[in-house]
């Protein structure tokens, strides 16, 4: 028994790596289709955007990089689809220096291709990347043109039809920050607190715990926590908009709902190994105590 326990505790970690690899790869290649239940914070974010009227302004800030794209991309794209369906005007920008702009451009290209009737500059605009996240938000609170004089193509904002009536963050119905790191918090402390603009945050699962404090304090309209939050949003979208339901069921592209299958299997593997490790650890400690008592 002692030999088996020692073997277990000193298990070659490459076996664990192999299990993790299989646990991720198999559900992505062969989706299981596990159910997703929605939480209050995701529902409130969804309903808030749902209550907006055509022509309202929504800012989607790409505040993440490729490292967390599988979690964050589905959030940004889901909200973009909802806004496009409702003809809400979408202002896209990136404040994360490590790839935020590239991810924003890729997501816009992907989602706008699904809505060929929408026009760049009338229904959506990409303001590009600007360094100094908190400083940019503060400036946008007074003057958006001061922070972003031109869009990503170099067109002055004054020449972009949908930007003509938009001067400051106070006119924006909601800011959606899809965030990793600190930038999501800056939107709350610098933009919401100083300009009053409502904020929805879409953090990674690792970053989500800190946002519960802001959620409890009423400083956030809603939150999409990690891949689960994104999968919940996809479920809400599919239930409200049948065309998106068909899209999410039929697409061969990666979706958060598919990602949840892999995440469930990985959580199961990790929990299983934590339990195995603890049982082995306790039995060794009990054996050592017994030996010491003798």
């Amino acid at each position: 028994m002692a030999g088996f326990v020692d073997k277990l505790l000193n298990l070659d970690r490459r076996w664990l790596f192999l299990l993790v690899f299989i646990g991720v790869a198999v559900p992505i290649i062969l989706p299981i289709g596990l159910p997703v239940t929605t939480t209050g914070s995701t529902r409130s974010a969804f309903e808030y955007i749902e209550a907006l009227k055509p022509g309202d302004y929504v800012i989607i800030s790409f505040d993440y990089g490729p490292s967390s794209a599988p979690e964050n991309d589905p959030m940004a794209e889901g909200i973009m689809r909802q806004c496009f369906l409702k003809r809400i005007r979408v202002v896209i920008l990136a404040l994360y220096q490590l790839g935020g702009l590239q991810l924003a451009s890729n997501s816009i290209a992907k989602v706008s291709a699904e809505f060929p009737n929408l026009k760049y500059g009338e229904d959506y605009v990409n303001l590009g990347y600007k360094d100094g996240a908190a400083a940019v938000m503060k400036r946008m609170g007074d003057d958006i043109v001061g922070a972003f004089p031109a869009d990503v193509r170099g067109t002055p904002l004054a020449q972009i039809p949908m930007m003509k009536g938009l001067r400051s963050l106070r006119q924006v119905s909601v800011v959606v920050t899809v965030a990793t790191g600190l930038i999501g918090e800056y939107w709350i402390t610098q933009a919401h607190q100083q300009s009053g603009v409502p904020v929805i945050v879409g953090p990674t699962a690792v970053g989500a715990p800190k946002y519960y404090a802001y959620l409890n304090a009423g400083q956030l309209v809603g939150m999409l926590g990690g891949m689960k939050g994104a999968a919940e949003y996809e479920k809400l979208l599919a239930a409200r908009y049948p065309e998106l339901g068909r899209f999410y069921r039929s697409t061969r592209a990666f979706t958060a709902t598919k990602g949840m299958d892999a995440q469930t299997v990985i959580h199961f593997i990790i929990i299983l190994f934590i339990l195995i490790g603890n049982v082995a650890f306790m039995s060794r400690r009990a054996a050592q105590k017994k030996a010491a008592a003798r």
Partner: protein, 266 residues
Amino acid sequence: MNFEFGRVALVVLFALLPIVGIALGFFVPALRARGPLFVAFFAGIIPILSLYIPRQFLSGETGMRPRLDQWLIIVYGFALLLGIVNVIQNGTRKIARREKGWPYSAVLMTGLFITGGLGIWGAVSGQGITTLPDGSGTPFKWIADHFFLPLQATIFALLAFFMASAAFRAFRARNTEATILLAAGILVMAGRVPLLEFLAAPFPPLQPAAAGASQGLGKLTEWIMQTPNGAAQSGIIIGAALGAASMAIRVILGIERGYLGLGGGE
């Protein structure tokens, strides 16, 4: 001519004053630190005053605070430039001296110059760095899409393997606190995913019970995240904010001078 007090004050405080400070520093070395201290004082105090004194020259559309906000964005740009200069200095020195790991620096320099060069070319030529009007990507975007994005995603993906291994080796119920943490961690991990439905999938009669139990577990997880976690996070955030405020006051009043390179409290 329209006299703008705010604009004149900014020129005096952030252009003339530093120049006088630098000049004084040449003649009287003991006064060298005085200029930056005054600049830091005014840069810190003006935004605070603008919140309490609603005067046009302070917080109006073209007042001192909005202009300082604009300057802040420009300063951030220069900070990025300083970072790049620092990377180039360190990298080239390492390569020139053939220090340990110099080939990595050579790769870094190559990547920096090629990517940066294409980015600058995009800005100069007016193409930008994302897509061209015909929908095709710029050379900068090609590099980002085919090198940067997959490399960064790959590095982060490796975390899944190391986290699983670390959890197996280190997440042990060694004492009461560790056991509470372990229990909470397992509950949240199980409650954030449809784990029970996954386990019940091969047994159809168990599925309704698993769905019900999963809902209960999900509610428990949300309670853990909202109540104990939310309370702890609030405490951490408030503590950090108070610390930041006190540090800001120390910098504004010139008590904290570490940023001058003279050592704290000098």
